[in-house]
């Protein structure tokens, strides 16, 4: 008779709890610091509960959240992130489809060129990119678009790579069936392949959102060399930190504030990432 609590089960349970703690621990520390008062962050907190501040308060949160520029920067970052997703998906998905389905001479070269964009560190390519956005025909584009285009440069290789993988898992039978029934390749792509590929592409979209939201180097240079009265959030945060060494409460609060939208966004798109979307199509 099998015991309900075998040694093996206890071990795995322990391992699971341990892993969760390791992941959540830094977030907890950040949270603890963000609600700390001055005495707490110098000494480390209340005793005999050393992990909780003496006088928890949300003052730092109030301070930053009541700052108008914080909100305008955050909104700016959101707009940029979504625009980046739209541009990189719009370019990347059809490109990936072509690379996944069609065999043409030079396909290896094309793939290498696309991926080689990411071989260069951001800092080494940022100056030429920023200069590009100063050129006459580009300069007068809205700043949101310019930053989004810059972010697309960074995110497009990943989108293409992810999308190629997604399209390759979709059986070609679906397209052949549509073709035999009279659908054009475009119709088959938009009405059949894309809906089936949605969960996989959503993963790519989340990645690009994160990339854009956190992007500092490109955002900084592109906005600095252009006329920008609103700047993306990471750049704005840098301006807040100033010359003096910032207190941990500020940093913790800002970090959590920046992380929040990402967590919320991920929860929302999670339902589109249900595995097994293609189950039932074949066999």
């Amino acid at each position: 008779m099998k015991k309900k609590w075998s040694i093996e089960k206890i071990f795995w349970l322990f391992l699971m709890v341990f892993s969760i703690l390791i992941v959540l621990f830094p977030i907890y520390i950040m949270f603890k610091y963000s609600i700390s008062d001055r005495a707490s962050w110098i000494t480390g907190g209340k005793y005999p509960i050393p992990w909780w501040p003496f006088d928890p308060n949300f003052e730092m949160y109030n301070y930053y959240l009541s700052d108008g520029r914080f909100w305008s920067s955050a909104w700016f970052s959101v707009k940029i992130a979504f625009l980046t997703i739209i541009i990189s998906m719009g370019l990347g998905a059809p490109a990936a489809y072509a690379l996944a389905r069609f065999k043409f001479w030079g396909i290896g070269i094309v793939l290498f060129l696309i991926l080689s964009v990411r071989m260069f560190p951001d800092v080494s390519s940022v100056l030429p990119v920023a200069q590009f956005f100063n050129l006459d025909f580009v300069y007068h584009l809205p700043i949101t678009l310019k930053v989004a285009m810059g972010h697309t440069l960074l995110g497009l290789p990943y989108i293409i790579l992810i999308a190629i993988g997604v399209f390759q898992t979709i059986p070609i039978d679906l397209e052949e069936q549509a073709q035999v029934m009279g659908a054009t390749k475009f119709y088959a792509f938009t009405r059949i392949i894309l809906p089936v590929a949605l969960p996989g592409l959503a993963a790519g979209a989340i990645y690009v959102f994160l990339l854009s939201w956190n992007e500092f180097v490109f955002s900084y240079f592109i906005t600095a060399t252009s006329i920008a009265d609103v700047i993306p959030l990471p750049v704005y945060l840098k301006t807040l930190l100033g010359a003096f060494s910032p207190n941990p409460v500020s940093i913790a609060t800002l970090s959590l504030l920046v992380s929040m939208p990402v967590i919320i966004f991920t929860f929302i798109v999670q339902k589109y990432m249900i595995a097994g979307a293609t189950a039932g199509a074949v066999k």
Partner: protein
């Protein structure tokens, strides 16, 4: 519904490989024709050429007397069911079935009527709103069939549609397909590697090997008068028993001789041998059910040793060692034939098969029916 004609159809790939060499088949309106053969024989390639998914390297394809080589798939009047069904997973059953109609901009009311008709015909009533992932294998297969049937195609192409079903369901769906064929009188081209499926479903069977047509004829013809050794060995389960040897003449009779066997061929075969046998090396074939087995010596028989018996319920099969070959002989169920005994096999004289032993091409003789 219309007929279909393949005239010297050829498929050659850029690297020189010929998947289909020279195929000519005339399919009549309303006929159910199966393309059967081992993997790689070219049957699926042929079907795909008919569907328009592969270019035709040579020859003519005529659908309903119209040249269709360069006609787009959707204008050929065909509908195809894939081995994997290829149901669109994000669409409901009804949407799947109505897909072809929607693309061709059929009026919504007519479309819905046709979908209802298909659901009813295939026993899928009430499942219209379900997604493919919520259906069983047999139901999915019927949805794929329904999707093809609503288009009212001239020719229906089926690519191993039953391969993914379990044995019991396969037998049930075979009957369903036959019923639908009878009801709709559709022209159907059916690709399968399962010879039993082809035998039970088809009006005619076309057997292919390595891109060549080995024989085409009705199931009975193929079974009783196979044109060559390949067809003889491919159709029928358990397969036909073969003996390789030489054709000799003794006392005005044709005699089959090899290391272990000397068998006098019946006089009734004389004319057949004169017309068809062109060489000394021959293959003698006998089906398990056409052999009588006995412990008493026979004057003109084949000697062997009984090894084991297998019971299938409706038949018993005795494995007999003849020289180095293993023969399968059918006996009455429950007869419990003794094993490890010297036995004598007497074939039914009107059921013997004799072929040229052309090992080089393994028989290029093709029969048309």
């Amino acid at each position: 519904m219309a007929g279909l004609r393949l005239e010297h159809i050829q498929k050659k790939y850029p690297n020189g490989f010929e998947a289909v060499k020279d195929l000519s088949i005339d399919i009549k309106d309303g006929e159910f024709v199966s393309l059967v053969g081992p993997s790689g024989c070219g049957k699926s390639t042929t079907l795909r050429m008919i569907a328009g998914l592969e270019d035709i390297s040579g020859g003519k394809l005529l659908i309903g007397d119209k040249l269709a080589n360069n006609v787009a798939s959707k204008d050929r009047g065909i509908a195809m069911v894939f081995q994997s069904y290829a149901l669109f997973p994000h669409m409901s059953v009804a949407a799947n079935i109505g897909f072809g109609l929607k693309i061709n901009k059929v009026d919504k009311k007519i479309r819905n009527d046709k979908i209802e008709w298909a659901l009813d015909l295939l026993d899928l009533n009430g499942l219209g709103d379900r997604k493919p992932s919520e259906l069983s294998g047999g139901q999915r297969q019927r949805v794929a069939l329904g999707r093809a049937l609503v288009l009212d195609p001239e020719v229906l192409l089926l690519d191993e549609p039953l391969s993914n079903l379990d044995a019991k369901l396969r037998v049930k769906m075979r009957t369903e397909l036959k019923r639908i064929h009878k009801q709709l009188k559709s022209t159907i081209i059916y690709v399968t590697h399962d010879q039993a499926e082809a035998m039970t479903l088809s009006d005619r069977i076309a057997i292919m090997k390595n891109g060549d047509l080995m024989q085409i004829g009705s199931p009975t013809e193929i079974y009783t008068r196979p044109a060559n050794r390949f067809v003889a060995g491919f159709i029928g389960s358990p397969p036909m028993n073969f003996l390789e040897g030489e054709l000799a003449h003794e006392n005005g009779n044709n005699v089959f001789i090899n290391k272990d066997v000397k068998y006098v061929l019946p006089a009734s075969m004389k004319s057949y041998i004169e017309t068809n046998i062109s060489q000394k090396e021959v293959v003698l074939g006998m089906r398990p059910e056409d052999l009588a087995i006995s412990l008493t010596p026979a004057t003109n028989g084949i000697e062997g040793v009984s090894i084991i018996t297998e019971t299938l319920g409706s038949d018993d099969f005795v494995a007999v060692e003849v020289g180095k070959k293993l023969f399968s002989v059918r006996t009455e169920p429950g007869s419990n034939f003794p094993t490890d005994k010297k036995v004598y096999l007497t074939p039914a004289e009107d059921k013997l098969h004799l072929f040229n032993n052309d090992n080089a091409t393994d028989d290029a003789k093709v029969r048309f029916a």
